[in-house]
Amino acid sequence: MAVSSVTSMAALPQDALSGPRVFSGRGWLVFAGVVITVAGGVPLFNLALPADSALHLPDYLVPLLGKFACYALVALAMDLIWGYAGILSLGHGVFFALGGYFMGMHLNQVAAQAGLYRTAFPPFMEFLQRDSLPWFWTGFGHPVWALAMVLVVPGVFAFGFGYLAFRSRIRGVYFSIITQALTYAMMLLFFLNEAGLGGNNGLTDFKILLGFPLQEPATRAALFSVTVLCVAAAYVLCRYLVRAKIGRILIGLRDAESRLMFVGYNPLHYKLFIWTLSAVLCAIAGALYVPQVGIINPGELQPANSIEMAIWVAVGGRGTLLGAMLGALAVNGAKSWLTAAYPDLWLFFLAAVFIAVTLWLPGGLLSLVTRRRGGKA
């Protein structure tokens, strides 16, 4: 240590700080290429090829792939809050379901107002002994209002919940347990017929979205492409965040919160920011998911659903954005196949994979790729 010579040294070039914020020029090209290939390829192979072609993508696969894309978005949201900020939420199903329900309300209202149901109300109203919709359905016939609700309500709810929890210094496993309790309580609430959201049947029988019939293959293909574009936009946003100074602060929050506090950061503000953003991303995923699967019900709020979201990220590689998305795709791909082929085995398989990754592959599936390449993702 040369205490005596405190002269300034020539600044070394090429620091993480001065590098490009999202991608290098070539990185942007690769990224755009992947997005265009996926968002364009699926509609192309589904719509443009004749049904008897060997390369034709069957209609039933398009919404399935769309569902996977939604899960990839959820994984990004989970990774921000858990992989980077170190806050394990086991209640992200709440935000996913809120986004999904708002979209469901919109789709129900649009069809009801277009006279596509037997009554002037969404179908679930038929067995409720009421002759008007609950007050909070007001405005949901309008897409802008519905979109605003998808973004604002989960955001405000997450902010309020996070404020109470983080301000009380609830962290670690206690926070995880509280979020589990939250999703369980929400599930019970949404099961009630009196809640005015379709009770245990939830909302279904959707017809049109923005004027396009949802049963049409072209609409479904377009929905898939829009979902992929949303995931791509979220990825760019997340990548910006984790490469900006705030990304390093979040890692500091995760690994040494008190150190961060004593260099002058208020952890509460950072936790609230990333928690709320993560919740909103998850709500967007839920809203995109519902028109593609055609139903939203309280089952989405089961505690196990939220736990699965964390497992996707753990399996793919927490703390890496690509890893998180890879985990969502791999686990759900396996789930689609296993639940059809060996439905009884799925939960055992999931548990086994989770344990195996925790024990032998702490960096997740992505570390298999990056380890071989010998570099960082």
Binding site: M1, A2, V3, S4, S5, V6, S8, M9, A11, L12, D15, A16, L17, S18, L241, A244, K245, I246, R248, I249, I251, G252, R254, D255, A256, S258, R259, L260, M261, F262, V263, G264, Y265, N266, P267, H269, Y270, F273
Partner: protein
């Protein structure tokens, strides 16, 4: 004192009339602790402790294990709230009414007893996170270090001898290097007061010597308060020594004065002071 903007906007909470008088007369004093008591479940970790530190002073705090040295730093930095007493930084900042991040931003930096760095960040990134700046969320979203800040980063890296390790993960550093990195992180905050808790624990003799050099070089520009057990080290840096025992000051003065004090000898049973 230069406070960040968000602190300046608040109405300053002034010291009590009695204290204000002494704050005014005691020019050059940067940190006041007066009659501070802390108890944990009835056990008095600090007992009516008063310590005053001058601007630019290098002060050593010694005392047996459990004397309350780390607790004293906890009180100054807002981690522990005392039962009674007052703690003032400069003339206007009441440490007992501020949150830890406010106290840090106002200019009190702290190194923990157990070295704490961000292990998953590189050495360079550790310093960047610590760097004096607007530390609110919005600023952190768009922050782009200026040329001057880059220069400061390089200087501090050089000062703590970690220039060759700048890109290395902090978790991979040796124990002594982590201690230096943490000191570097304090310096990045441009603090007026540095609280350094046991900086040479686990260091090799060569590292201890260089740490003494470093702290000596910092005194004058900053007020430095060092808690240490290593008597050779204390002897190498100390100008004024405060001996803490059972939560209060047992003796204060130069190293020789303190060592000659029979009460101090009794506490240390002679051996450690040899």
């Amino acid at each position: 004192m230069r406070l960040p903007g968000w602190l300046q906007n608040r109405a300053p909470v002034g010291p009590s009339a009695d204290l204000a008088h002494r704050l005014e007369t005691g020019r050059g004093v940067v940190l006041y602790m007066e009659s501070v008591s802390v108890s944990f479940d009835g056990f008095k970790a600090l007992n009516d402790l008063s310590v005053y530190v001058d601007e630019g002073e290098l002060r050593c705090i010694i005392g047996p294990n459990g004397a309350g040295k780390s607790t004293m730093m906890d009180v100054i930095t807002g981690k522990t709230r005392p039962d009674t007493g007052s703690v003032w930084f400069g003339q206007t900042l009441d440490c007992l009414r501020r949150e830890p991040w406010e106290i840090a931003a106002a200019g009190i930096g702290r190194k923990f007893q157990k070295p704490t760095v961000f292990e998953q960040l590189s050495v360079f990134e550790n310093l960047e996170v610590a760097m004096q700046a607007d530390k609110r969320v919005r600023a952190s979203l768009f922050a782009q270090p200026t040329a001057a800040q880059h220069r400061q980063l390089d200087e501090i890296l050089h000062l703590i001898g970690l220039t060759p390790e700048r890109g290395r993960l902090a978790g991979l550093l040796s124990h002594g290097q982590k201690q230096w990195l943490e000191i570097g992180m304090l310096l990045m905050q441009n603090p007026r007061v540095l609280l350094v808790d046991e900086p040479v624990a686990g260091m090799t003799p060569g590292e201890v010597e260089r740490t003494a050099e470093l702290l000596n070089a910092l005194a004058g520009k900053h007020s430095v308060i060092v808690v240490e057990h290593d008597m050779a080290f204390v002897r190498a840096i100390a100008r004024k020594v405060t001996v803490l025992h059972q939560g209060s000051v047992l003796a204060e003065g130069s190293m020789d004065q303190v060592q000659a004090d029979p009460r101090v000898q009794e506490v240390y049973l002679g051996e450690a002071m040899a």
